[in-house]
């Protein structure tokens, strides 16, 4: 719990330096993301192969490293089929609408500690938007338009069903996604991602613990948002051929594919930032820095080049941890039924996320009124760090809530055959009641009781 420290000998980059460095960052981030996405397709195939005791692609280049390149060349050279009945404009537009939001969202995620240069301190984030995560949520849900349009424009019943499912699923889980972040927002008091990272560093506790319920729900919603198993209902190979991209081929199909992996990458990076401290170096306080405050003074510790490099390494490691979990889940858990997905979204996650928000708010309020201020407030009225004590109390409260959620989900009522089991239960009750009625009639009717 250190007080907010400021360093005044650092200066902001000039407008020209800002422009040049922004362009460098855009190009670097874009190429790194695209290469990572390409490598993720290989990683997915390798990881799934290893899980099934296979080898995976190993012919192109050492260890199959050239496989994404070969796939890319193949997809560009392949013939593109356009269904005669398809709406050509929307059919072409859909893959673009799908890939752009997936790539744009990466812009607001800080990926390393600020880099000191002779032209000023450069924040390692492509666009440090004040609305940060709201921008991210808005754009990531925009991706569903691509999928719905693809389903509709294909003029194919399976594609349409896939698009429909995507729409319904996105709407259901978008709410839980937003709600799960609510408690985080009002504790941090800001929606900018650098601020969220800074708060975690100051508290010396990553938000995964004090907001474990949010973390859990956010995680589940992210699986639904990225359309990956166990929520890959829009593609659902066994039911809908491949859903919304049934009619797509060559590079257009590839774009959907890239969009999916870009989404996975962004969402993993987002989870790492929100809940695992982003680029925070674990157990090291010297990297707690936010950036320039409103008065132009530097807030936080002294930036250094080695801090930028090491923090970028930690950010990558955390992101890849989540990506690995994504893959692990995909190749382990079977797909939910459609009604189960809706039930989980509306009947469990939505109310439970609301309750979590209320309980977290009550805890913060209770701590404040008990004389243990949750957020340190400086004499001049600015909000400071979240106290570690407050974080630990929240950890305990959230732990209890998480246990309750798990306990409820584990009872077999929620995720085993929901709809059909209800029907069966009602039917059985009905039968039992009728049988009891008959028995009562038989016993009360004179003459038949002798039997």
């Amino acid at each position: 719990m250190q007080a907010v420290q400021t360093i005044s000998n650092l200066h902001q980059p000039s407008d020209m330096a800002f422009l040049v460095w922004s362009m460098i960052k855009v190009i670097a981030a874009f190429s790194v993301v695209m290469v990572t996405v390409a490598m993720l397709t290989l990683m997915e195939r390798k990881v799934s192969a290893w899980m099934q005791d296979r080898l995976g692609p190993n012919r192109v280049g050492p260890g199959g490293l050239g496989q994404p390149l070969a796939d890319g060349i193949k997809n560009i050279l392949k013939e593109e089929t356009n269904p005669a009945e398809a709406n050509r404009v929307f059919f072409t537009l859909a893959p673009m609408l799908s890939i752009i939001p997936a790539l744009v969202t990466f812009a607001v995620i800080p990926f390393a500690a600020p880099l000191p240069t002779r032209w000023g301190v450069i924040p390692m984030i492509v666009a440090d938007l004040p609305v940060g995560i709201l921008f991210l949520l808005a754009f990531s849900s925009l991706g569903v338009y691509g999928i719905v349009l693809a389903g509709w424009a294909s003029s194919n019943k399976y594609a349409l069903l896939g698009g429909l499912r995507a729409g319904a699923q996105m709407i259901s889980y978008e709410i839980a996604l937003g709600l799960s972040l609510m408690s985080l927002f009002f504790v941090v008091g800001n929606v900018g991602l650098p601020e969220i990272v800074y708060k975690q560093q100051q508290m010396n506790l990553w938000f995964a613990l004090p907001f474990s319920v949010s973390f859990f729900f956010f995680w589940i919603s992210c699986f639904a948002e990225t359309n990956r198993l166990p929520f890959d209902l829009p593609e659902a190979e066994s039911e809908l051929v491949t859903g919304y991209h049934t009619e797509y081929s060559a590079m257009k199909f590839s774009m959907f594919f890239i969009a999916e992996y870009a989404h996975v990458l962004t969402v993993s990076a987002l989870m790492a930032t929100l809940f695992l401290g982003g680029w925070d170096i674990p157990g090291y306080g010297g990297d707690d820095m936010l950036g320039f405050g409103a008065d132009g003074r530097w807030i936080g510790a002294q930036p250094a080049i080695w801090k930028t490099i090491v923090s970028f390494g930690f950010f990558t490691a955390k992101t890849f941890f989540f990506i690995l979990i994504f893959m692990l889940v995909r190749w382990t858990v079977p797909r939910f039924r459609y009604d189960q997905v809706m039930d989980l979204g509306w009947k469990i996650m939505l109310p439970a996320a609301l309750v979590a928000v209320v309980v977290t708010g009550a805890t913060v309020l209770g701590l404040d009124s008990a004389g243990e201020p949750f957020v340190q407030v400086a004499p001049d009225g600015t909000r400071g760090a979240i106290t570690l004590f407050g974080g630990l109390v929240l950890t305990a409260v959230n732990g209890v809530m998480l246990f309750l959620v798990m306990w409820l989900m584990d009872r077999g009522r929620v995720l085993s055959g929901t709809g059909s089991m209800d029907e069966k239960r009602i039917h059985a009750q009905h039968l039992a009641r009728r049988r009891a009625e008959q028995m009562r009639q038989r016993l009360t009717t004179p003459g038949s009781a002798v039997r």
């Binding site: 290893w50 260890g63 858990v333 077999g412």
Partner: protein, 169 residues
């Protein structure tokens, strides 16, 4: 009458979702760690390493030849007769010493079901099914093997029945 449905009351342990998911993920992760880095030995990397064929594997045919290069076949006509797939075409001929020889001997490997009966029935042990399986071709016509091609086959012939090892062990 409506069908009566018996609702099974399963214990929580059996109907649990979270525990089942976690144990499943532990299993896949264990396999992932075991064979990470292509350490799994279960795959035979086909073009590089080939499976050991059984000595009784029945593949594409081989025609045995005499030392002077003539086929051993005496054109008796037993193999086209016994062939269940009717894939052997034989036109017998006879030279001036009265020795029978095949003028045309063709086997359509596409029709062949590789039962090995031609080899069993052959009185002079001329035609054999071979210990061989890589027989890909670019056209269907190439799958009709004529006499020259059958004689040129270099792969070993199949051991249908080894007198020293009657049970095939």
């Amino acid at each position: 009458m409506a069908a009566t449905v018996q609702v099974m009351k399963r214990p929580v342990r059996k109907s649990s979702y979270i525990r089942a998911t976690l144990s499943g993920m532990a299993l896949t992760f264990r396999h992932l760690v075991q064979s990470a880095g292509d350490r799994s030995e279960k795959t035979i990397q086909y073009p590089d390493e080939k499976k050991q064929l059984s000595p009784r594997w029945r593949g594409t045919h081989v025609m045995e030849t005499h030392d002077d290069g003539r086929p051993k076949c005496v054109a008796c006509g037993l193999c086209p007769t016994i062939c269940p797939a009717n894939c052997i075409k034989l036109v017998p001929g006879e030279d001036d010493q009265g020795n029978r020889y095949p003028i045309v001997y063709e086997i359509d490997e596409f029709r062949c079901i590789f039962c090995g009966m031609c080899q069993e029935v052959c009185p002079v042990e001329a035609i054999h099914v071979g210990n061989h399986y890589e027989s890909g071709e670019y056209t269907r016509d190439n799958f009709v093997y004529d006499l020259d091609r059958l004689m040129k086959q270099t792969h070993p012939s199949t051991l249908l029945w080894d007198p020293a090892d009657p049970a095939g062990e």
